[in-house]
Symmetry: C2
Subunit: 354 residues, 2 copies
Amino acid sequence: MKLNDRKIRILEAIITDYIATAEPIGSRTIAKKYDLGISPATIRNEMSDLEELGFIEQPHTSAGRVPSQKGYRLYVDNLMRSKELSSEEVDFLKNAISFNVNRIEYMMEQTAKALAMLTSYTTVVTEPKSRKVRIKHIQLIPIDESEIAVVIVLDNKSIKNNIIRVRNIPEYEELNKVSSGINSVLKGRSIEEIDSKAVSELLSSLARYRDMVTKVFKTVISVLNQEEDVHVYTSGVKNLLGFPEFSDIAKAKNIFRAFEEKDMLITLLGEGDDTSADKIQIIIGGENNMEELRDCSIVRANYRFGNDSVGKIGIIGPTRMNYSQTVSVLTEIVKKLDSVIGAFVDGEDGGYDE
Amino acid sequence: MKLNDRKIRILEAIITDYIATAEPIGSRTIAKKYDLGISPATIRNEMSDLEELGFIEQPHTSAGRVPSQKGYRLYVDNLMRSKELSSEEVDFLKNAISFNVNRIEYMMEQTAKALAMLTSYTTVVTEPKSRKVRIKHIQLIPIDESEIAVVIVLDNKSIKNNIIRVRNIPEYEELNKVSSGINSVLKGRSIEEIDSKAVSELLSSLARYRDMVTKVFKTVISVLNQEEDVHVYTSGVKNLLGFPEFSDIAKAKNIFRAFEEKDMLITLLGEGDDTSADKIQIIIGGENNMEELRDCSIVRANYRFGNDSVGKIGIIGPTRMNYSQTVSVLTEIVKKLDSVIGAFVDGEDGGYDE
DNA sequence: TGTTAGCACTCATTTGGGTCGAGTGCTAAC
DNA sequence: GTTAGCACTCGACCCAAATGAGTGCTAACA
């Protein structure tokens, strides 16, 4: 049996309609609503074939057909036409997000929110993360008699800090010298580039502060390894409650459980991941391996931060989500983020704030 | 009409039962389940009185009675017996939360999660915040040719940082001197204690770096004013979906909307607030002014951080929530937090980590 | 040979009536 | 003041019939 042009047109009609209405659709309705120039009976025959081919299925005997996972896949890969964003939508995104790279967490939070509002699905955004991040500067700051703060400036513009407790804290000037010593060894290096010989030399030359310096190194390593958990911003979870497929409370609860588990979200965004890929990826229904999210699809993308580090954005909706619009919105936002962040990292963006 | 002892016992029975079952309760059931030594008919008469007094109400003519807001209020204020936590519960809290004050955000997140699990309601926790926070130290760190990081150590153990862009950045040594100058003026001060004369003197003595220093002060002010938005940790939102009162999707969606609005949560935790109060506060049903949360009650408390700054914890459940258990759990956790944080701030807690 | 009209059949959903039972209020007797 | 008895109310539940959207099959048509 061949998937001829007419079958494809019918399949497209079924998917379009189902995306819009969430109701199974029958032959008569297709004939009436979509001008295919053939009668319901013919459509019935074709639908019977489409079902046999696995592109659509029937919830129960006397109901219409709905697209199957395989059907959506065909649609997404071959049929879907990309949709231009309306100027209102572009404006909305521009106004809803303050592209202020100094407050990157805030920006990501706003991005999540804006996407959730625009698509009326759920949005998940992770902070950018890099394996090759380098140290720009390390500074030790005294807090009180028994504590100092270790401030680590990274070359991806983020600043991490941690408090450590040590027994004897040197005077301010002295502490600055220790800072300098540590900097001389670590500055400009990524985790793989740390020279362990230089480190142990430094340790012996600063024997008086051995305890402290060891702790500092420990902190640095843990920061570079990004052991601390990455932030995840979620928005619009409530949106899903509006869709009829989740009006069953039990189902809804299941999905919500997934959204409360940060680890799950991270796997969801990372699964089968090709970090270098610039392309938007679409994961349909059961293609993700999470039982809880079997009735959901995910449209996700990476955004660049500098040359090397990437964050992820995912938009999660019902399987019959509006893929075309979602892809457009996501493309737009990733482009915007890339350009804003890129300009910032390159220093092209003048913008000395007053 | 007087609220005699017998009426109170009946009211208590109604509330206890309704909290457990979420079903309206009738006179016969009370007579059977609770050994009050009177017949259903008598109970009926008393219930009729209780209804007239406004402590209970009838969803519809042929149903039993449910407690009214006024009824819960009476119960919470006068009738409720405080319940000891079981040792399992205490253990659970102890194990679920790693009381590590160096990672305060993490600790708060865990606290929210643990409370949500233990109570099976929703928990909201805000970071501690203080109006009288003082500066302990300020450090300027060079990032590149056009940017420096301003790191501000506060006396509540938190460290804030911000990147500012400036045109001409002095050498490292010179920058340290500027840091020192700024410190001499700001160290140990809260926002109200900043000496504006000293500031302007400093500004003129550092005329070369006027632009930079001005920006640093601006940053400091904004940090001290805590203009940046406070973190809120929420956990267990999905739990509410398990309660029959929210099995109506529309209602659930409404509530979820509230939980996605950070501002709403903050108001919720802060409303009619007495920051100095150590007491646990209970807000029943419509007593909060949020339409969305009319069917919810909130049990909330402040926890201290140092002498002066406070964070808030709120547990949100259906109006018929188990007030007694919730109060106990919350009391326990606040006590624990106060002691952990207190010990840390006072430096009594030795704990030099190895 | 592909298309279509016609028809019997299926089955989820809706509708309406009937019963059940939990609960009430009232009255009269204790 | 308490209780037994009774009529009444009304939501919940069940069941059967009606509805209608949809199908598959067959036979006629172009």
